[in-house]
């Protein structure tokens, strides 16, 4: 399939279509769940004419969850896109590099040490996840760093994979110390449960994600040049070291916010940038927003499916994503060979 070329006009059109698609899925998502609400009822609620019960369902349960899904998608999509471009490797993502697992481990330590039941501190979780993610990133960097040599992307990814199995082992070890409640929480978290669907968490996550996103979109021109390789980027006048560092930190921070409040969405960060690249091409001015939108659509879609089709008990959203993404991932691998 030799697709038509990626023009700016095509880019804008696709972004618009993606935004519309996301809104449609969001509307469907508000309507669906254990308590069905018709679109008209939802509309009335949004106009302030709903019953108390309807208000409760829309504003306290469904809307925050949808916003969380969108933000988590934005974070994972942007983070994966940055990592793939900086490392020039399509397998890079917060999941494969072990950044998510690093964040997860720190979240778990917090759960074990401080919070027994109520996750009281809204800011502590993303911050801890960020520290965990940065620790993981620094470890990967230190372990694959050779003085005076260019860092090989493959080396970084392999180190990430190795480290993330280490984190998993540590996580399992810690899990044994948990009581039943904490255990349930951890299991659901690691499967990607979108648990932080509460306004008090969103009040932290929204500015966190949107400010970082503004920064990386502003840097799309720099990402374009870094995507050509560090030497070419230097030749074009990019201060490679500081830009690389700044964008890496932003990528870790974006994924940390998502991981802390959404859970471990392993595949989204890898697959969304792929889909986006096929749709709008490699120019980051389009690729970055498209990657965010693709990731949000995946998360929202999976969440809506989870809540619509009741498969016994509540299944975490991440499981649905993994089930949906695995064939695509295998297809990519087959194609790469």
């Amino acid at each position: 399939m030799r697709k038509q070329r990626y023009t700016a006009k095509r880019g804008f059109t696709i972004l618009l279509v993606m935004v519309l698609l996301m809104i449609v899925i969001a509307v469907v998502s508000v309507n669906s769940g254990k308590m069905n609400l018709s679109p008209i009822e939802v509309f009335n609620v949004l106009l302030g004419k709903g019953t108390e019960k309807q208000n409760l369902i829309v504003f306290e349960f469904r809307l925050p969850r949808i916003i969380l899904g969108v933000l988590v998608g934005f974070g994972m999509g942007a983070s994966g896109c940055i990592m793939q471009s900086l490392l020039r490797n399509d397998m890079a993502s917060p999941g494969t590099l072990g950044i998510s697992s690093g964040s997860g481990l720190f979240v778990l330590i917090f759960v074990v040490l401080f919070a027994s039941k109520g996750m009281s501190s809204a800011i502590a979780l993303p911050l801890l996840a960020f520290i965990g993610g940065m620790t993981a990133a620094a470890l990967i960097f230190i372990l694959s760093y050779r003085r005076g040599r260019d860092i090989s992307p493959t080396g970084l990814i392999l180190t990430g994979v190795a480290l993330s199995s280490g984190y998993s082992a540590a996580t399992t070890l810690l899990t044994l110390k948990l009581d039943q409640n904490q255990m349930d929480f951890m299991q659901r978290w690691s499967a990607g449960s979108l648990w932080g669907d509460d306004w008090k968490y969103l009040a932290i996550l929204a500015p966190w994600t949107l400010i970082l996103l503004a920064y990386v979109i502003y840097k799309s021109r720099v990402l374009n040049t870094l995507h050509l390789g560090n030497q070419t980027a230097t030749g074009l006048g990019v201060a490679v070291k500081p830009e690389f560092l700044g964008l890496s930190i932003a990528a870790v921070a974006l994924s940390s916010g998502s991981v802390a409040l959404g859970g471990n969405f392993f595949f989204v960060g890898m697959i969304a940038p792929h889909l986006a690249k096929r749709l709008v091409g490699p120019n980051h001015k389009f690729l970055m927003p498209a990657s965010c939108l693709a990731a949000s659509i995946i998360v929202l879609l999976a969440d809506t499916i989870t809540r619509t089709i009741s498969l016994g008990s509540d299944i975490p959203t991440g499981i649905v994503i993994t089930v949906l993404s695995t064939p695509y991932f295998l297809y990519l691998l087959a194609k790469a060979n």
């Binding site: 070329r5 990626y6 021109r221 050509l228 230097t234 030749g235 201060a239 490699p282």
Partner: protein, 276 residues
């Protein structure tokens, strides 16, 4: 006047000193080639001059200014550099990649101005790529792709372009095509060209100035006539070379050669030796 000069340049990987106390001058407005055996440090020198590699000690001057006093963006307005075999992300079109050359001149979000577009179109036409402008770079042939990278460097609008083995992996005709393009750029647009070349005869044919390096030190430098002698090639490559003047261009070429320590001067055996 010198476009580039280096002063006591020491360049090291880890603790291994690759280039030692190098004093090199690149004349302005000329084509200069750096030649030398594998691992002699010729690419390393080019990278240090192009501030891709930080020298251990020593100074690099760009038109008389210490490059450490210039921001990387300022340098990019004066000097373009093409690494060896750069790669473009799949799906990127020729005109997009060439437009990336405008990077050092842009601000903020970097929307292309009409001026930028004019320069990109000029770069495309000079490199004869106008008809390919909407093609994806990864669908082009090796020679065309190399021209795209040169066009990107041209869009940077610099007086100086550094190229690390621009003819690698190209066949005879495409090698010549790239070098003739660079020659035209030098003669018509007055761009100073500095390149690392493997092929001695092509270097002698197209260069005004040659620098022969061995073990991180300059063996000899000057016009092709001065550098392409049996004496200096022996010192640089340890070869015993037969230098003649090429009938078409009048430039010195290496007609044939042996290793200096080779036992037989005339290996492989000649036809007459075998046929009885």
């Amino acid at each position: 006047m010198n476009s580039i000069s280096t002063e006591k340049l020491d360049i090291a990987y880890d603790d291994a000193l690759i280039v030692k106390a190098l004093d090199m001058n690149i004349p302005h407005g000329k084509i200069s080639s750096i030649i030398g055996p594998n691992g002699c440090g010729k690419s390393t020198v080019l990278k240090a001059v192009g501030r891709i590699l930080k020298p251990k000690t020593g100074l690099v001057y760009l038109s008389g200014e210490d490059i450490r006093d210039l921001s990387t963006k300022e340098i990019a307005k004066k000097m373009a550099i093409l690494p060896q075999t750069p790669t473009a992300p799949s799906g990127l079109t020729v005109s997009e990649l060439v437009a990336y050359g405008r990077f050092p001149h842009q601000k903020g979000f970097g929307k292309l101005t009409p001026e930028d577009k004019k320069i990109v179109n000029w770069a495309l036409s000079v490199t004869k790529l106008t008809e390919f402008e909407n093609r994806e770079v990864d669908t082009l042939s090796g020679g065309q792709r190399q021209r795209v990278w040169i066009a990107m460097a041209l869009a940077q609008q610099t007086d100086l372009i550094l190229l690390d083995e621009p003819t690698t992996y190209l066949d005879l005709a495409h090698q010549l095509e790239i070098l003739e393009l660079l020659y035209d750029l030098n003669r018509k647009q007055n761009v100073t060209i500095v390149m690392v070349l493997h092929d001695l005869n092509l270097a002698a044919r197209f260069s005004d100035y040659m620098i022969a390096i061995r073990d991180g030190k300059i063996v000899t430098h000057g016009s092709p006539e001065k550098v392409m002698t049996s004496e200096s090639l022996k010192d640089t490559f340890s070869i015993d070379a037969e230098i003649v003047l090429e009938p078409r261009t009048g430039r010195p070429i290496c007609l044939t050669y042996n290793l200096v320590n080779s036992s037989s001067k005339e290996s492989p055996p000649q036809k007459e030796d075998i046929a009885v």
